[in-house]
């Protein structure tokens, strides 16, 4: 992993960072690189309420806000920005406003690396809209001055159309931090971690490979 000047991570939901990027984030922080995580929403529309339910539609945002802060702490992120949008509405916002917001973050932080979702290949409409806003902000910067743009993709067609990811980070050195970040988003991850508990304990190779490898595609500007 290259040493960066500053890393800016932009995702729409608390927990978007946990599975795919938290090991990468923790690795950068371990190298002394400042990381800013800009999270657009509080995941207000999450559906996991527990069984029996421990949350309702009105208490969930506060719960997820706390989980997001806990996850940031687990990863060692000192600069967490909560941008105040509502879950599932990002795609309906004004695209220019979103892109300008991303431009202002980039101008302020001057990151050498930006991480977001790959527009067109990231399934959730909020992911797509967030990725598109970041791409459009980076695109406005003269090519020579652009930060690197690494994107997470997981749609069914992503490998077929984008090829294999050109960046794969083995984050096994910080896998415990990653698991802490995942656990921090308890309202969303508890059920899944329960199902995975035995596999994690036995260090099942498939589960460990999924956990230890974080995959990115460098954005291809046309």
């Amino acid at each position: 992993m290259e040493k960066e000047r500053h890393v800016l991570v932009v995702f729409p939901h608390p927990d978007d960072e946990a599975f795919g990027v938290s090991g990468t984030i923790a690795s950068h922080i371990n190298m002394g690189t400042p990381v800013t995580y800009a999270c657009l929403t509080l995941g207000q529309m999450g559906r996991n309420m527990g069984n029996p339910p421990f949350a309702n539609r009105e208490t969930l945002p506060a719960i997820r806000k706390k989980e997001l802060k806990d996850a940031a702490r687990a990863m060692g992120i000192n600069d967490l920005r909560m941008l105040g949008f509502r879950d599932k509405t990002v795609e309906f916002e004004d695209e220019n406003m979103l892109a300008n917001l991303m431009s202002s973050l980039i101008t302020e932080l001057n990151p050498s690396l930006v991480i977001t979702f790959y527009p067109g290949y990231s399934v959730h409409p909020d992911h797509e809209a967030t990725g598109a806003a970041v791409v459009s902000a980076v695109e406005k910067i003269p090519e020579a001055d652009r930060p690197k743009l690494h994107c997470v993709a997981f749609s069914r067609n992503c490998v077929e159309e984008l090829g294999e990811p050109d960046i794969v980070h083995d984050i096994s050195a910080v896998v415990d931090i990653k698991l802490d970040a995942i656990r921090a988003h308890r309202s969303q991850t508890e059920l899944m971690l329960e199902e995975m508990a035995d596999k994690l304990k036995e260090k099942d190779p498939k589960t460990m490979a999924w956990l230890n490898n974080e995959r990115f595609w460098t954005y291809k500007f046309s």
Binding site: M45, R47, M49, P52, N56, R57, K88, V123
Partner: protein, 115 residues
């Protein structure tokens, strides 16, 4: 939230009758439904802080329950309600959780706008 007790929900519904109230209504399959199962047709609807006055309201069914509000020129209803809560702000929160506990539908009524 607790499993629906019809009498308590009906009492709460009646308390808001003829008052200006704010409604939150949503139904969803989750954004990943079609990603996880390509043959699944994903749909959903969402309205937050619609201001209405209703003249009658009823919760009915044998569980999961249905709730309907009759408003001056139409109706608001939700199907699949399993749980309820009257929160510390006196709002009536109704929710339908699927077999895995995931939220499938919500209908909420409040005298002040939801945040």
């Amino acid at each position: 939230m607790d499993p629906v007790i019809i009498s308590e929900v009906q009492e709460a519904l009646d308390r808001f009758k003829d008052k200006e109230v704010y409604i939150h209504l949503e139904t969803t399959n989750g954004a990943y439904a079609s990603h996880n199962n390509e043959s699944f047709f994903s749909s959903g609807a969402y309205i937050r802080n619609a201001k209405v006055i209703y003249e009658r309201a009823k919760i009915t069914g044998e569980g999961p329950f249905r709730t309907g509000l009759k408003i001056p020129f139409g109706w608001v209803y939700a199907e699949g309600i399993t749980h309820f809560e009257i929160d510390d702000k006196g709002r009536l929160l109704l929710a339908g959780h699927d077999f895995n506990g995931k939220l499938a539908v919500a209908l909420e009524i409040s005298e002040t706008p939801f945040e």
